[in-house]
């Protein structure tokens, strides 16, 4: 069945889209850069990080590009002072939420959060840092989970459930108390479902999930392609 063709405007430019595609997909194909963190190519989108918000004319609300389907005749704005301010604030909040002392992180200079913060000019955080003292799960023979670096994007949960089919990960508790858990909140190393495939580690945007035995800056991931590309280009935002 041939796909229905739509045309939408992105930042004034007329672009082709297909019914069922999200604004994010269309915009990226058209070469626009929209920052994302919870989106991961190939995984179902959840609209959690709110970095990909865009303005859609006719809608009073800001909509997440990753979950909003393109509609014929839609006019989307991906860059505006308000969007930039809100996106920066979102990053500030993420940086304040846990512990993101990059200088001592395995993912330093390979981290999507850090890359976006740099690219978007987040030079200081105006909120007080929460610095909760969260545990580090070292029970798995090959991987570590450091909750202090986790941004609760749920990419690990989705890749494990939807791609590997292992359903090891889940989210527990509410609000700022929310935390990623493995297998009914047992140590990762004791999770019978874990196949040790390492997909979650690769999907994780930060240093929260990493391979064991690495030192600062040593953890590189085959993460989000589009974003990695942007990072390499020096983040033209």
């Amino acid at each position: 069945m041939p796909q229905t063709k739509l045309s939408i405007r992105i930042d004034g430019e007329l672009v082709q889209a297909f019914a069922g595609e999200t604004i994010l997909t269309v915009a990226r194909r058209a070469g626009r850069f929209i920052p994302t963190l919870c989106h991961f190519e190939g995984l179902r989108d959840v609209g959690a990080c709110r970095l990909c918000i865009v303005e859609v004319s006719g809608s009073g609300r800001l909509l997440p590009a990753c979950t909003t389907p393109a509609q014929d005749g839609m006019a989307v704005t991906t860059v505006s002072p308000r969007l930039a301010a809100y996106r920066r604030m979102t990053l500030e909040l993420l940086l304040a939420e846990r512990n993101h002392l990059c200088a001592v992180c395995v993912s330093n200079s390979n981290c999507e959060l850090q890359a976006l913060a740099t690219a978007m000019g987040v030079t200081s955080v105006r909120f007080r840092y929460r610095y909760p003292k969260l545990p580090v799960d070292l029970s798995h023979p090959r991987f570590v989970l450091d909750h202090n670096r986790c941004i609760l994007c749920s990419r690990c949960i989705r890749v494990c459930a939807d791609v590997e089919g292992a359903h090891v990960w889940d989210m527990m508790s509410r609000g700022v108390g929310a935390r990623v858990i493995s297998d009914m909140n047992r140590p990762w190393g004791e999770a019978p479902g874990c196949t040790g495939c390492g997909k979650c580690v690769q999907a994780c945007p930060t240093g929260a999930l990493a391979e064991k035995g690495l030192a600062v800056e040593e953890m590189t991931k085959r993460g989000e392609r589009a974003l990695q590309g942007a990072i390499r280009q020096g983040g033209r935002l």
Binding site: R50, T90, L93, E97, R130, L152, R174, A178
Partner: protein, 1050 residues
């Protein structure tokens, strides 16, 4: 068991129900909702049960739901055959037997009777009780009910919720029968659309449109869901509706199911509502037995059933997608829309979700038609809404009001206004994610659009009234704390944003905030609102954003002034009394030092906080009393009288010189800076005292001959003997302050001259202009403004114009009372004419009473109409027009309106005491920036005017106020002027430390509050001797021992 198959079986059930509703014996119905139970309804029910069954009394006992007025629970309805049903309030178990014996004799127990119901409109049917008991008000004549319209609550508190037959008796299931007989589901949807009914759960989406969307969705199975997961703290309308009338909900859902083509209904109810769960289960069971649920409903071939699901009750489950997730057994987290539930909802099937209250509106619309429904409410928001009115009003409870009713109706008419001595300052609508609407905006119509424009929401209908004891910063903090703990944690703005907003707010309440954080908070609030995934995050910032918009000054008070005027933020105040004292006197400290018999130190503590302690000890409005925590036991500590006692015993004793030496020791070395103070009133004297202590060369200019301002020239000798004031002025003089009298700034010396001769200038002239009323006859001889009159008497004993034997005084403030009492002392008769009621008078209540004892007369609810003169142009009479109190105005008091009824008051002179205004001439001539009232504009915290080096405070800034407020300006001016001249921090260094006991009193003195003695009225009106004689030492000491030491921290 009678299964309803057709009209005759249906009618038979109705007849059976009517027998129960109107039995041949008295029907006693006890309100047994959760709220009634909490107030002892169960015990009450048992007491009736014992009496009736034990004593063989002919009466029918039943339990009903809740009728609404929480503050009057428990309620009992008594219906004697042929007589009106009477609502009894605050009934105790011990009242049961006399209620029954009275009812047996056809009487109603008078002391418990509240109001009567002759007939009741159940909307779906009318019930006539009877006539009689004319001495009782009709239910809708009671202010709490007046204006209410019960559509949703039509059956609540009247029928037995556990008995389907009673529901059917009052027209229940007739709407269902009607739609099934008609057989046109699409017409039902048309009717709902035409009724403009909007979802009552919060967002206000049009119900008919939602239904239509759903009816069009094709699927093998569709669901209708009732969201009964009431999660707002303080909101309990849904609980009450279900507990009082469960079948009303079922009927609405069955009709909805029929209209939308669904066979399955689910009610998602909070597990924390056991009574509601129990009643619903019972009602579903009964409905199945009567053929109203299940196969072949009412013999019309329609199949529909309802299941009850008990939810864990998370706030976020009010969000439709989160609720669906929870029903599917997943954790209650919202997901992005589209797809909408009507497309893919529960188990991927089309799903319609409506709130409890929405469902209750369905049957009435079907029976009465959409036209009838839109008659009630406003243009865009038809019908009624149930609100829970709670907080700082006299009457609280559940009220059902037409949409579009102004807020002030809720607060003042239904709620009865604030408690005595308090004033309402805001209403928070819509639950934890609603906004605060300030008192100035109480004309606001309560409907979806208008509330949204003000940054608030309708939400579930919560309405929390706040008065001046509520701190708006704390209110914002409280609600954010709630929503923050209810955030599901999925999206960043809500999860982290609310948490950091709470952190900022916490900082404000403990005094560690800074102004840039206030801006940051505003930006953060907007960001959370605009970018959150679901309704929880999108609305959660409302309380912050609205309080920041309407009560920004309170935020600034916390951040800049380090003060919480409401006294809620404990870290920003020493004790309630210290916090409410304009001078922030350390009251518990001097009370304690006094108790430790350290009189000298007690006095030093007082004087350093308040340089006019004996004068204020007599004439201060003592706001400290209002907040004293001792009031919760009996009465406030009489702090003013204690400091008067301590001041009197020091100032009048030979220890005066020693005290003065101790004060002089605290004087800082000379700084070489010169400060001019314009005005030797309370503000000027206070500033002079502190600035002299700080080592500056202070010169005070005043147009009068002596220092004291209003204290000397407006307050009569009998209230404040001038010898007392002289002694206080002496202290200030001997600290080196220079006084230049009979010098008018502006005429004798210009501001430019002051500018060139001094390093800083403080403008603190008092209010010396009497406002004039535009009244025919004011040109007559014998019409006298109050202030010049009082001044003339204070100076030399006799006014310029003789008063004659009878004086009329127009006004209700302190100047009016002082004028009356002065007139009495001059041998005249005095009548005070005031347009409102006694309780509205701004004058100090003790003074009003004292004047009355001396023979002053009052004429309330009377406005001056015209002054009548004789042929010689001399006052002969005052004509007054009787007033009536109409609706509430912006001051929260009822507005007096003239009735046209005119009476004449024969008199020989008229004193105008209608209020003082700022000396506009002075202000205008000053060349400084003025505000819209013509007063000088200053920075609220530093008192700087628009001209560099110039500060202003007191009446020139606020308009007429009182002594302690004026002095507070003087104190603040001294601190800021010094900081400007010398750098910050020196002011705090003036104050010495005292070591004294720091133990909160486990058992304070049990004595009642001491009031000071007065000279007998018959003696005092013949002279100008001081009327109020202070406390004796043992009395003052006993009074001090009553203090609870709120300043001691655990």
């Amino acid at each position: 068991m009678s299964r309803i198959e057709d009209i005759s079986t249906f009618n038979a059930v109705r007849e059976a129900g009517l027998e129960k509703m109107l039995p041949g014996v008295p029907r006693i119905a006890v309100g047994m909702g959760t709220c009634g139970r909490g107030n002892g309804a169960e015990g009450l029910y048992h007491a009736f049960h014992e009496e009736i069954h034990g004593g063989g009394v002919a009466a029918q006992l039943t339990g009903v739901g809740c009728f609404g007025p929480c503050s009057e629970e428990p309620l009992v309805n008594v219906a004697i055959p042929g007589k009106p049903m009477v609502i009894l309030r605050r009934v105790q178990a011990s009242d049961a037997s006399r209620i029954l014996s009275d009812a047996a004799e056809g009487r109603i127990t008078p002391d418990l009777a509240w109001c009567r119901v002759d007939e009741w409109d159940h909307i779906t049917a009318q019930l006539r009780y009877g006539h009689g008991f004319p001495e009782l008000p009709l239910w809708r004549e009671v202010p709490f009910f007046a204006g209410q319209k019960k559509i949703v609550l039509r059956n609540c508190g009247l029928i037995n919720p556990d008995d389907i037959e009673e529901y059917i008796a009052v027209g229940g299931y007739q709407a269902l029968y009607k739609v099934l007989i008609d057989g046109h589901p699409e017409q039902v949807i048309e009717q709902i659309k035409a009724s403009k009914l909007r979802g009552r759960g919060g967002a206000g989406f049009h119900t008919g449109i939602k239904w239509e969307f759903m009816a069009k969705a094709k699927a093998d199975c569709k669901y209708v869901i009732c969201n009964a997961d009431e999660g707002d703290p303080g909101a309990y309308m849904n609980r009450n509706e279900i507990e009082s009338d469960p079948h009303g909900l079922l009927e609405g859902m069955i009709i909805g199911g029929y209209a939308m083509g669904c066979a399955e209904g689910l009610i998602y109810v909070r597990a924390e509502y056991p009574v509601a769960v129990h009643r619903l289960n019972h009602a579903i069971q009964q409905a199945r037995e009567y053929g109203l649920l299940g196969e072949n409903i009412m013999g019309r071939g329609f199949r529909f059933d309802i299941q009850l699901v008990e939810g864990a009750g998370a706030f976020v489950c009010g969000e439709e997608t989160a609720l669906i997730a929870s029903l599917e057994g997943l954790s209650g987290r919202p997901r992005p829309r589209p797809p909408f539930p009507a497309q893919r909802g529960l188990w991927g099937r089309p799903t319609n979700i409506n709130n409890v209250e929405t469902w209750y509106n369905i049957a009435p619309i079907v029976i009465k038609g959409p036209g009838w429904f839109t008659e009630t409410g406003s243009m865009k928001s038809a019908g009624t809404k149930v609100f829970s009115l709670v907080g700082k009003v006299r009457n609280t409870g559940l009220v059902e009001m037409p949409l579009g009713t102004p807020l002030k109706t809720f607060v003042y008419d239904i709620g009865g206004g604030a408690a005595r001595g308090r004033s309402v300052k805001a209403v928070q609508t819509g639950g934890p994610s609603g906004g605060c609407i300030p008192q100035e905006m109480f004309d606001t119509a309560v409907d979806y659009e208008t509330l949204a424009q003000l940054g608030s929401i309708m939400g579930s209908g919560g309405m929390v009234v706040m008065d001046d004891d509520n701190c708006m910063v704390d209110v914002a903090r409280y609600f954010i704390e709630f929503t923050h703990s209810e955030s599901c944690g999925k999206c960043v703005p809500c999860r982290v944003g609310l948490d950091r907003a709470l952190d900022v707010l916490n900082g404000f309440t403990v005094g560690t905030g800074a102004l840039p954080q206030l801006e940051l908070l505003g930006e953060l609030g907007g960001m959370i609102r605009d970018t959150s995934l679901c309704g929880l995050g999108q609305t959660a910032p409302n309380p912050v954003l609205t309080t920041m918009r309407h009560f920004r000054h309170e935020f600034e008070d916390h951040i800049i002034g380090q003060r919480c005027n409401a006294g809620v933020c404990g870290d920003l105040a020493l004790s309630p009394c210290e916090n409410s004292c304009p001078l922030h006197m350390n009251i518990p400290r001097f009370l304690q030092l006094f108790q430790e018999d350290r009189m000298e130190e007690a006095f030093d503590s007082i004087l350093m906080d308040n340089p006019l302690p004996a004068s204020t000890g007599r004439v201060c409005q003592h706001p400290c009393d209002n907040r004293c925590r001792r009031q919760t036991l009996d009465d406030a500590v009489n702090m003013r009288e204690v400091h008067r006692f301590l001041a009197d015993s020091m100032l009048g004793s030979d220890r005066f010189e020693g005290m003065l030496e101790r004060v002089k020791v605290r004087k800082q070395p000379a700084t070489g800076q010169r400060v001019a103070i314009v005005g030797a009133g309370p503000a000027g004297l206070t500033a002079a005292f502190y600035l002299a202590l700080l080592g500056h060369a202070v010169t005070v200019f005043d147009s009068q001959e002596r220092a004291g301002g209003m204290l000397r020239y407006a307050l009569p000798e009998y209230r404040l003997p001038k010898a007392v004031l002289d002694r206080e002025v002496e202290i200030i003089e001997r600290l080196g302050v220079q006084f230049v009298f009979k010098t008018q700034v502006g005429t004798d010396i210009s501001l430019n001259e002051l500018d060139s001769q001094f390093d800083s200038v403080f403008l603190s002239i008092g209010t010396w202009k009497e406002s004039w009323v535009y009244l025919p006859g004011t040109e007559l001889r014998g019409v006298i403004p109050a202030l010049p009159f009082l001044e003339a008497v204070a100076k030399g004993g006799a006014p310029d114009t003789p008063l004659g034997p009878r004086v009329a005084i127009i006004g209700g403030g302190n100047a009016a009372i002082d004028s009356a009492r002065t007139a009495l002392r001059l041998g005249s008769q005095a009548t005070v004419v005031y347009r409102r009621e006694r309780k509205d008078m701004p004058a100090i209540a003790e003074e009003t009473l004292a004047a009355e004892r001396e023979g002053a007369r009052y004429l309330f609810l009377a406005a001056p109409h015209r002054i009548v003169g004789n042929a010689q142009g001399q006052v002969k009479a005052l004509e007054v027009v009787k007033t009536r109190l109409a609706e509430f105005d912006a001051s929260g008091r009822r507005r007096p309106v003239p009735t046209g009824e005119i009476t004449r008051l024969e008199c020989d002179s008229v004193v105008l005491a209608v209020g003082e205004t700022v000396d506009q001439d002075f202000c205008r001539a000053s060349g400084l920036t003025l505000n819209e009232n013509g007063a000088i504009t200053v920075d609220r915290f530093t008192l700087e005017t628009s001209r560099s080096k110039f500060y202003a405070g007191g009446d020139v800034v606020t308009g007429a106020s009182n002594v302690s407020n004026a002095m507070a300006y003087g104190k603040r001016a001294a601190e800021n002027i010094d900081a400007r001249l010398m750098g910050a921090g020196r002011f705090a260094g003036l104050f010495q430390r005292f070591e004294y006991e720091q133990i909160a009193l486990a058992n304070p003195s049990a004595s009642p509050r001491r009031v000071s003695h007065e000279l007998p009225a018959s003696v005092r009106v013949h002279g100008s001797d001081e009327v109020v004689i202070g406390l004796s030492k043992p009395e003052a000491l006993e009074e001090a021992r009553r203090c609870l030491r709120c300043d001691v921290r655990a």
